[in-house]
């Protein structure tokens, strides 16, 4: 248990510091001092030091914003400001965020809490905050021009409302939001139920993350804010694999995962080894009768999904977006397919003009996961990460759900790689292989081919070893 006082001294959360340098202490005398985070690691859950009790969430590669109680009102202080976010080791992005990070800290409150949020604008342009999905007075909804004046540069605005509905929400600007969201301004909001809720079960572990995407040109740092759909970095909480932490749970834990989508496309989020129920959406907890077991749930643009499962299968289970390009880091979208193209004799000729040229893609793209070749500065390899059995060949929206018998309750530390019990892992067949019967009736019954052309099948090139070049 950490006290509020500890937080405000900056000692409660590892890496959290008081940021009072740019806004003077005097001018902020009546405000809760802003707390900032300088690390992109997953921080332990913030156990509520005061107010109504609740079971806190763990923000993947993020943290929860501390508050202070002021005459029964929970006071938070968000500072909108430019930040440097580590996307993964080897790459940093110049983003806009809140309190030192993008996404901003998760705000956790309890159903019925009166909440006062001070929002200080340290961006170079005006901003607002919209409390996505919440029932609040119209003047607190944060649409610049519609509900309020935009918060000018250097000014602090106050939002105040009661968190009426339990559920999973988001916050993001609604002023020049195209730019500000493309620059990473977003955060998570969880309203915990007050006491027992018929549709909200208590869980052992409660994770949350936002889906977000940036277009950062390889070798640069700042997202291209005018990109509409052709993003090249797919992230959970502004982290790309292998920069994303694993979700570490104890065997037979009941686990809830809350996912919000602030990208421009939908993401079919898929978990291996378990079935889950979608127990909540943007509208709150789903009625029990509507729940069915799934292994993939599509999270559409601007939506929230809350899934729950019993982690009863030990192991390291992949957990990722099922759009396979979203489990890649920056890659060329116009790179021609080189599969099956014989490079023999050509590589040497090309090196006469480009001395360090190397053949890639001839056998597929797995070379990328294996070879370590120099890349532009501040650029993650397209596929990367090494597991216990070799390259994982992943990037982007991919992490591992780790279920361990020995994981202690409340312990979120990475237990390392899972060691499969003997006889429970795929193995190499060393016996003889029979030649399979092949399909031979192109054209089918309804429209048989008038003349049989040499089918494409005959031209398929079988993989060969060209390690000679």
């Amino acid at each position: 248990m950490v006290t509020r006082r500890d937080f405000f001294r900056g000692a409660g959360v590892a890496g959290a510091t008081l940021a009072a340098s740019a806004v003077s202490r005097v001018s902020l005398a009546a405000l809760p001092e802003p707390v900032t985070m300088d690390k992109a690691d997953t921080q332990p859950p913030l156990l509520p030091p005061n107010g109504r009790p609740y079971n806190p969430v763990v923000t993947l590669n993020g943290w929860t914003l501390p508050w202070r109680m002021n005459k029964g009102v929970k006071e938070f202080h968000l500072v909108a400001e430019p930040v440097v976010r580590e996307i993964a080791p080897g790459m940093k992005a110049h983003l806009w965020g809140y309190n030192g990070q993008s996404p901003g800290p998760t705000i956790e409150v309890v159903e019925g809490d009166r909440v006062r949020l001070f929002v200080t604008n340290r961006l170079p342009e005006h901003t607002t905050i919209h409390w996505h999905g919440q029932r609040i007075p119209n003047g607190m909804d944060g649409v610049g021009g519609l509900n309020q004046k935009q918060i000018p540069v250097g000014k602090t605005y106050v939002y105040e409302f009661v968190a009426r509905r339990p559920g999973t929400f988001m916050y993001h600007p609604h002023a020049d939001e195209m730019t500000q969201m493309a620059m990473g301004m977003m955060g998570f909001w969880v309203t915990h139920p007050k006491g027992q809720h018929p549709l909200i079960d208590p869980v052992d572990r409660d994770f949350c993350f936002l889906l977000n995407a940036f277009d950062i040109d390889p070798g640069s740092y700042t997202p291209k804010v005018n990109t509409m759909l052709d993003f090249n970095l797919w992230m959970w909480n502004s982290r790309s694999f292998p920069g994303i932490d694993s979700l570490n749970v104890r065997l037979n834990d009941k686990v809830r995962i809350r996912i919000g989508n602030l990208t421009m496309t939908n993401h079919p989020i898929h978990l291996h080894g378990h079935e889950f129920l979608v127990t909540g959406t943007d509208g709150g907890p789903t009625p029990v009768s509507t729940r069915w077991y799934e292994v993939t749930t599509d999270v559409a643009v601007g939506q929230m999904r809350q899934i729950e499962l019993l982690a009863d299968e030990e192991g390291d289970w992949a957990f990722h977006c099922h759009k396979s390009h979203h489990t890649m880091n920056a890659m060329g979208h116009d790179v021609p397919t080189m599969i099956g193209v014989d490079h023999r004799g050509l590589a040497k000729q090309i090196t006469s003009l480009i001395p360090e040229y190397m053949v890639m893609g001839e056998r597929g793209m797995a070379d990328m996961g294996e070879m370590e070749m120099p890349l532009p500065d501040n650029t993650l390899p397209m596929m990367t990460g090494t597991g216990p059995y070799g390259p994982v060949e992943m990037g982007g929206m991919f992490t591992v759900f780790k279920v361990r018998r020995e994981q202690k309750p409340g312990d979120y530390k990475d237990p390392g790689w899972y060691k499969q019990p003997p006889g429970t892992q795929a193995y190499e067949w060393t016996g003889p292989l029979a030649e399979p019967a092949r399909f031979r009736s192109e054209g089918g019954q309804s429209m048989p081919l008038a003349t049989k052309s040499p089918g494409a099948e005959f031209q398929v090139r079988k993989p060969k070893d060209h390690s000679g070049h």
Partner: protein
């Protein structure tokens, strides 16, 4: 009669002897070439040789062969070969012989004039004999000789200029030939890579990864590269042939080998604040113009001296009238052209006009020289800046882009064809640098020439690659 004539000749020989002792010209052993040789050595440190015997010609040929056997042939050696071997130049040396002959001619007195009249009627004879000599030539000969001496000096200067101009043009031709060979070599390398990309595109289509359209588009690089190479080879052939002509080579001699690249760009271009004054002091065309005016001035003096009396002939004469045995009457004969119709004014006017013409030409030569040397110097500085810009900015920049593109290729952010098409702009920067370096060395040669005389001739055609439309890429 004989004795008497001998007496006449004896008297005449007094005049002739006086003239020869007075410094009459004879042919010099080197035909006046010594000063040309000295001028060339002093200006560019090269040997100018005018072979006039078979032995000299043989020695010269073997020297040319030795120079040509050097592999590669340096610019200095190419210049030396041209000076020794260019036949046009040797023909120009002959001009010197012609001019010297005129000079010697001018230094010699006119021959005495002997006239005889003989008439006979039976035993009655009339015989008149006179040996006359153009007395006025004794007065005018030194003047005419002066004129011819200056004309000869001028001929020497102009022969020296021809040698130095040939040297300059040979140096520029060498620069152009080396640069064009370097470009051809690079273009072959480009074609090799382009060939690889075309072949890769073909295999892409064969493997079913590309459409015919995509393959055809990629084939463009190869097609362009082949064109670039053909153009480069054209330029190279023209440049090399020009050098071959200037060096006067044919047959097996034309197989000389040039260095792989031009000399590096000097770190800094030399500062020459005083260049105009130096040029005025040094330029041979200015000196020639001054000699010309002096000669013309003397000529004017000559014309004025002789304006009334063109011919004054004087000499002993004797007359016999009557019997053959009668004694001769001795006397003298004077012949004088009377300026009755021609007072010489036309000749003087012409000489005056020629004099003024020479003066104006000399003045314009000096004005041109100043301007030419300024232009040459500025061109030298600017081509240095351009080549330096290529070397320090454009080439490294393209190289950096190429390196970054390779990194992108490594990350599968771009494909191999993007990598290859980027090299096309790299190609432009490399050939651009070669040409900029070529232009600098040519400007350097022109500047040296501008300090000697008028700059003539340009380099061979540039390859198309430096034209902007080719830079548009794909």
């Amino acid at each position: 009669m004989n004795g008497t004539l001998q007496g006449l000749q004896g008297r005449a020989s007094v005049f002739v002897g006086a003239m020869i002792l007075g410094g009459c010209a004879t042919f010099t052993p080197d035909g006046g070439f010594g000063s040309v040789e000295q001028e060339v050595r002093q200006r560019i440190g090269k040997d100018a040789i005018w072979p006039r015997t078979d032995a000299e010609r043989e020695a010269l040929e073997s020297r040319v062969a030795t120079l040509l056997s050097k592999r590669p042939l340096s610019a200095d050696d190419a210049v030396q070969v041209a000076i020794l071997n260019n036949r046009d130049l040797r023909a120009a040396f002959a001009e010197l012989g012609i001019a010297e002959a005129d000079l010697v001619q001018a230094g010699r007195l006119p021959n005495p004039h002997f006239s005889m009249f003989r008439a006979k009627l039976g035993h009655d004879y009339k015989i008149e004999q006179a040996l006359t000599f153009n007395v006025l030539s004794l007065v005018t000969a030194p003047l005419a000789f002066e004129v011819e001496k200056r004309r000869f000096a001028r001929a020497q200067q102009s022969v020296a200029v021809e040698v130095l101009r040939l040297a300059s043009e040979t140096r520029k031709a060498w620069i152009a030939a080396v640069a064009s060979e370097e470009t051809v070599r690079y273009m072959r390398q480009v074609l090799r890579a382009a060939d690889a990309s075309a072949e890769l595109a073909r295999r892409m289509e064969q493997a079913g990864n590309w459409s015919r359209l995509a393959r055809a588009r990629e084939h463009g690089f190869y097609a362009d590269a082949a064109l670039y190479l053909a153009r480069a080879e054209h330029a190279q052939s023209a440049a090399r042939e020009r050098l071959t002509r200037l060096m006067g080579l044919w047959g097996g001699q034309a197989g000389y080998e040039l260095p792989e690249r031009l000399p590096d760009l000097p770190g800094t271009a030399s500062e020459r604040p005083d260049i105009e004054r130096q040029a005025i002091a040094q330029r041979l065309d200015i000196r020639a113009a001054i000699l010309e005016t002096e000669a013309v001035a003397r000529n004017l003096d000559l014309t004025e001296t002789t304006r009334f009396i063109n011919v004054l002939e004087l000499g002993p004469a004797r007359v016999l009238e009557g019997e053959k045995s009668d004694p001769y009457k001795k006397g003298y004969e004077i012949a004088l052209e009377l300026p009755l119709f021609d007072w010489g004014t036309a000749r003087v006017a012409k000489a005056e006009a020629i004099y003024w013409q020479a003066l104006d030409r000399a003045a314009q030569t000096a004005i041109n020289a100043r301007s030419e040397v300024r232009e040459a110097y500025r061109s030298y500085r600017l081509t240095h800046d351009i080549a330096k810009h290529y070397r320090d900015e454009i080439v490294p920049l393209r190289k950096r882009i190429a390196e970054e593109n390779l990194l992108r290729y490594n990350g599968m952010l771009i494909g191999v064809f993007d990598l290859l098409s980027d090299t096309r702009s790299q190609i432009l920067s490399v050939t651009g640098y070669v040409e900029a370096l070529r232009d600098f060395w040519a400007a350097d040669a022109d500047l040296q020439m501008a300090m000697i005389g008028r700059v003539e001739g340009t380099l061979g055609p540039k390859t198309l690659l430096t034209q902007p439309e080719a830079a548009a890429g794909h």
